[in-house]
């Protein structure tokens, strides 16, 4: 995995500038701006319907923004489809994980982009792919008994989540979008996945973490963007607690001036 290890914070990996998204008359996102920086974990929180999912879909190329721009390493970028976002090294781990249960770890890693030989015969380079996948998994300190030839269907939820995140990191050297990575996990497995996310941050990945779990957010995130009714109602950094986030999420506290908020309703 070619991590972006320069760690310089001079330029964000991905800048979101005044992004709005309308679905007919419904304004799902209203002029939201924030940065995702290499070597940092940025949290994206908000109540149900606040626009988190829409934002992830805009960033991963599923939806095009109605207005506003995305700057990838300073360059304005438009994604026509998820494929283009992936080619631009933005990888998303959705809650559904998108793993094939009958496949082993290595096969899932390379699905759709297998290494092959003998030209048009497209014979898979199985050994090589296993080796690369094992290397990547090892670097992240993920322990899967049985290694990369273990089938996903035999794995626990935490192991699956780890495989999905490791696969995203394997293909992306720039930006990782993680959608509720611990939502379906137990305590011990959550701890393992959080550790994995920290490892990725330490290796220089720019991570956007969408989460409902304020404990995770408090522990992991360097800064947090709070969405409320499609707007950015808060932007916390430095010393903040999960309770601070909750105040912004519920609207008890807001950076938006009250008139704008009222008008937005």
């Amino acid at each position: 995995m070619a991590g972006n290890t320069n760690g310089s914070t001079s330029q964000p990996a991905l800048e979101v500038k005044d992004v709005s998204k309308n679905f007919g008359a419904v304004q799902a996102l209203k002029s939201v701006s924030f940065d995702i920086t290499a070597g940092k974990i940025t949290g994206l929180v908000g109540d149900n319907g606040a626009g988190k999912s829409t934002m992830v879909k805009v960033l991963s190329g599923v939806h095009a923004p109605s207005s506003g721009t995305l700057l990838l390493e300073g360059q304005p970028t438009v994604f026509a489809n998820p494929r283009e976002a992936r080619n631009a090294k933005i990888e998303t781990v959705f809650q559904t994980l998108e793993l094939v249960e009958e496949f082993d770890v290595a096969e899932n890693f390379y699905m759709g982009q297998e290494l092959t030989r003998f030209g048009p015969l497209k014979v898979r380079r199985t050994a090589e792919m296993r080796k690369e996948a094992a290397l990547a998994v090892g670097e992240l300190g993920i322990n899967i008994p049985g290694g990369v030839t273990r089938r996903v269907r035999t794995m626990s939820g935490g192991q699956r989540q780890a495989v999905a995140i490791a696969r995203a990191a394997f293909w992306s050297s720039k930006v990782l979008l993680l959608d509720e990575p611990t939502a379906a996990l137990g305590v011990r497995e959550t701890a393992q996945v959080l550790e994995l996310i920290e490892t990725l941050r330490d290796q220089g990945a720019a991570i956007l973490l969408i989460s409902h779990n304020m404990k995770d957010v408090e522990r992991l995130c360097d800064e947090v963007v709070v969405l409320r009714q499609g707007r950015k109602s808060g932007h916390l950094s430095g010393d903040f607690t999960g309770q601070d986030c909750v105040s912004y999420i519920t609207g008890a506290v807001s950076d938006l001036d009250p008139d704008t908020e009222a008008a937005g309703l």
């Binding site: 998820p82 494929r83 992936r86 959705f94 559904t96 994980l97 998108e98 793993l99 094939v100 249960e101 009958e102 496949f103 082993d104 096969e107 699905m111 759709g112 982009q113 297998e114 092959t116 015969l121 497209k122 014979v123 898979r124 380079r125 199985t126 050994a127 090589e128 296993r130 080796k131 094992a134 008994p145 049985g146 290694g147 990369v148 030839t149 273990r150 089938r151 269907r153 035999t154």
Partner: protein, 420 residues
């Protein structure tokens, strides 16, 4: 939960592998179908020998079973396996095969390709039949994908529609399959009736390709398989099994005279089987067939062209139907419009006995092949031992359900042990 696999295994490149060890690849779950086949062959050997003193597994009877199984069930089951792995299935296969066969017969009857000379018209007519079969599959695939209809419904319709078309083009009667040779001046002068009536394909190409030792052929097949596995970098255990089986077959062939005449359709079956097995096991498009059957959304997200991988397997089944029609015509003198009526269920049965998942994502062509052989071994053994047809049917029905139940229970047991 995983204490049994704590002793990590590593392959030649130093990668930790959970891949099949020798012991695991011989478990009931992974090799049960082959055990069942051997068991049934053993039972019939004993039964037939004690009953009539005949050695059931003699070379010509083995070739007999292979031939009975090949057309249409085994050949179409290969295509059906690929289709089922991709997440669909096809009820219209034997109607489609009958339509292909009838198309060939009519092309010959009306001399559509007569301008190509005798050989040319044979090849063109057979090719035409395969094309018809492939198109039949394509139509199913296009309707399934673009209309978004479940493949059960689509092919339930084409099951009837293709049979109807067959009856229509045949005028509800059987059609002779004769290739007219170009007559020489002398034959015309002599009014040589026999030549004028034309030849059956079997008479043109000969009934068989000659006599071969089955052990030698099987042995070479295993060695080729081992070579393929080695080149593609598969695990060591299956390679060793295939190598051992191959060498055993080749060595035994020097001492045991297991020679019989090999028909054309066996050659077609074996070539189709090896090519399909190689494609599904070793290539990246082969893996994508498993991917779209296993998780369509994930395949889409991985950038796999899911429409292609959902439609082409339908075409491949159709292609296999065309091939089955060709191998049938090579040995027949006329084609009935109700050819293979109801046999599509045998094709599905062969796949299910072979352990192919009805929901897609898993299945092996070799095992479906073994499933087809199991069915026809039973049928052949029953016939040799003069078992009444009603008991034959009952036994085969029981076998289908029992094998499916065995798979489910084996999966459940392995899941309970945490092995899968």
């Amino acid at each position: 939960m995983h204490d049994k696999s704590t002793a990590a295994k590593f392959d030649d490149t130093g990668v930790e592998v959970a891949a099949q060890s020798m012991r695991e690849s011989l478990t009931f779950r992974n090799a049960g179908i082959y055990y069942a086949l051997m068991l049934i062959a053993a039972i019939f050997t004993w039964w037939t020998y004690s009953g009539s003193g005949i050695f059931y597994l003699n070379a010509s009877n083995v070739e007999n079973v292979l031939e009975q199984a090949a057309t249409p069930v085994a050949i179409i089951a290969i295509g059906m396996t690929v289709l089922m792995v991709s997440g669909n299935f096809d009820l219209s296969v034997t109607s489609n095969a009958a339509l292909s066969a009838m198309s060939i017969a009519i092309a010959i009857e009306h001399g559509w390709f007569g301008f190509l000379g005798t050989e040319g018209s044979v090849i063109a007519s057979l090719g035409f039949g395969i094309l018809v079969g492939t198109l039949g599959g394509l139509v199913n695939g296009l309707i399934h994908w673009f209309v978004g209809l479940n493949s059960f419904i689509v092919t339930l319709g084409s099951l009837t529609a293709y049979r109807g078309l067959t009856l229509l083009i045949a005028n509800d009667a059987s059609v002779d399959v004769r290739f007219r040779k170009e007559l020489t001046e002398e034959q015309i002068a002599n009014n040589d009736r026999e030549t004028e009536e034309g030849l059956f394909l079997g008479e043109l190409i000969g009934d068989t390709i000659g006599d071969f030792n089955l052990l030698l052929i099987a042995g070479l097949g295993f060695l080729i398989a081992a070579g393929g596995m080695y080149i593609s970098g598969q695990g060591a255990a299956p390679i060793r099994v295939a190598m051992a089986a191959g060498l055993l077959g080749v060595i035994l062939s020097f001492f045991v005279d297991y020679t019989t005449s090999i028909s054309h359709k066996l050659v077609v079956l074996v070539v189709l089987l090896i090519l399909t097995w190689g494609f599904m096991t070793f290539t990246s498009p082969g893996l994508h067939v498993y991917a779209v059957g296993g998780n369509l959304e994930a395949s889409k997200a991985a950038g796999i062209n899911v429409a292609l991988y959902r439609i082409v397997p339908f075409m491949f089944v159709g292609f296999c139907c065309g091939l089955a029609a060709v191998t049938y015509i090579a040995e027949q003198k006329n084609i009935e419009p109700n050819l293979w009526f109801g046999r599509e269920l045998w094709v599905l049965a062969a796949c299910i006995i072979g352990g192919v998942s009805l929901t897609g994502g898993s299945g092996k062509v070799m095992k479906s092949m073994a499933g087809a052989l199991l069915l026809y071994t039973l049928l052949n053994g029953f016939q040799i031992n003069r078992v009444s047809p009603s008991i034959q049917d009952t036994s085969i029905g029981v076998l289908i359900v029992a094998s499916a139940a065995a798979y489910v229970m084996a999966e459940r047991r392995a899941a309970a042990k945490g092995q899968i």
